[in-house]
Symmetry: C2
Subunit: 338 residues, 2 copies
Amino acid sequence: MAATDNAPSPQLFFETINAFQKSAALKAAIDLGLFTAIGGDSVTAAELAARCQCPERGIRILADNLTILGFLTKDAASYALTPSSAVFLVQSSPAYMGAAVKFLHAPGLTEAFTDLSSTIRRGRLHTTEQGTTAPDHPAWVEFARAMGPMMAPTSLGAAELVPLDASRDTRVLDISASHGAYGIAFARKNPRAHLVALDWEAVLAVTQEQAQAAGIADRFSTITGDAFTVDLGSDYDAVLVPNFLHHFNAEDCTRFLKRVHAALRPGGKVVIVEFVPNADRITPPPAASFSLVMLGTTPEGDAYTFAEYQQMLVKAGFHDASLHPLPPTMQSAVLAVA
Amino acid sequence: MAATDNAPSPQLFFETINAFQKSAALKAAIDLGLFTAIGGDSVTAAELAARCQCPERGIRILADNLTILGFLTKDAASYALTPSSAVFLVQSSPAYMGAAVKFLHAPGLTEAFTDLSSTIRRGRLHTTEQGTTAPDHPAWVEFARAMGPMMAPTSLGAAELVPLDASRDTRVLDISASHGAYGIAFARKNPRAHLVALDWEAVLAVTQEQAQAAGIADRFSTITGDAFTVDLGSDYDAVLVPNFLHHFNAEDCTRFLKRVHAALRPGGKVVIVEFVPNADRITPPPAASFSLVMLGTTPEGDAYTFAEYQQMLVKAGFHDASLHPLPPTMQSAVLAVA
């Protein structure tokens, strides 16, 4: 075994250079509603083709490849869903993630990876100057519409971590509020909290809809514009900074956190939600590999370690920084006190 | 452990939908000569950036992601090549595979996967009518230039399997000769063999160069045109059909094999080299997943099982079909007697 395992092999090269085809197969299956069409059944390629209204060859090849990838099981000639596919890829499931493909494969995101060597060589994006950090970038409307359901476990975990004072009215600011999941989780858990959502104008229309749907519209207001320059208001008990800092360089993050510090009451908390790799920057892979997304889509973003966040927070005037993994998600919360 | 492993998780969804970024990272590393720049050394991101003449941030993020993917090792802050990367991804290595990216990521191939659901739904390619099976398709010139080194182990294995009569002059026909690796391996192993290479005109210029370089130009001739209609000649001891049949439907494969049968001497052998999955069509994964490439790039191609090849061969008049894996490659040889 050991000898075989150590023998040089081109297998990983082939698998990786062709990995784009795996993304394409999964996207096609979601586009065709293949997982939804299987549901709780065990079906042959012919039956599945009929349900998807497609010729059989393509469905059979797709289903075999989805089995190889681990999304289906195959018993003799019949395909069925794995437990994870049933939960996350069937449209009627509350945890359905298929809609996220609209953001994750939006042209602005996929094009960012068509010439990554040029981006690396020149030290600036090969597509546009600011990537997804440009003002009013349309990707964030797509993100707000597509990614909300996926954020539920992380946002609930974050709200659990930071209970607000229930004996008085409190104020929460949600930076890059987007789908609203983080702020709404705090507002629901704290009935006396008023939620202020900050984002680009077109995005806030989505946040507003979500606040309405969550029944917290009477405790909800908005701030429109650039989080680096707009007036943030003051006297907040908590400022949520979910999936925002990774888009910027460490100096800009520190500058931004100073603004957050100034907007918090003394003793108020900043709640950063992020992909936080270990100090080795290669584990755990789901968090560490997020740096690649930032390399492709932002001029200076990164997946920062906890030590790096600590340093930014101290420079910005915070104390008692702490790290809290949010299982089963790939993300962590970094908390600190103003 | 078991409970965790069985708990539904969106991890596979994320990893697969973003897998295109892995291909992009590997392609960027090859484009930048990153593996060649590391060579036998252990280098920091700063040193590697200097060697690649790139800003450090991009090189650091890329190197971390290549480590996560298994192409590099990282010890403290220093990166080094894995044994496989040293053999296959350093430009001075005889087994260098980096050039294959030119074919594997040629626009015609990558575009085939941008709208796979449309291809599946309509039962025809969303790009062009015939895909890579169109006459004189330029992808095959790229293939011939890029893929030769990669075929060396398979072509040597195939030539070993079918020794020709050394006591007389023999004749070998190489269908879709391309880089020439298969035919040249037979010609080199059998000094009295004359090699006839068949392919499109522009491709045969590459084959001719390779025959010259291999020192067999005096035992080499060509047939230009469509393998389904051009005169194949006759009296061959062996007809090589490497990586050709997977582009077509089973009926066309059978029709083609009848032509091969007619061109062979009685007792002559057809030597098919292919990705041959097991009857379950999902193992071994490297062979079985090749069906996805055919779904994306050909109107009716597939990865056929040995039973399917047997059936085609019997219908075409062959007997004694046999299957021979060609380790360490992902391919197998199917032999049969005329």
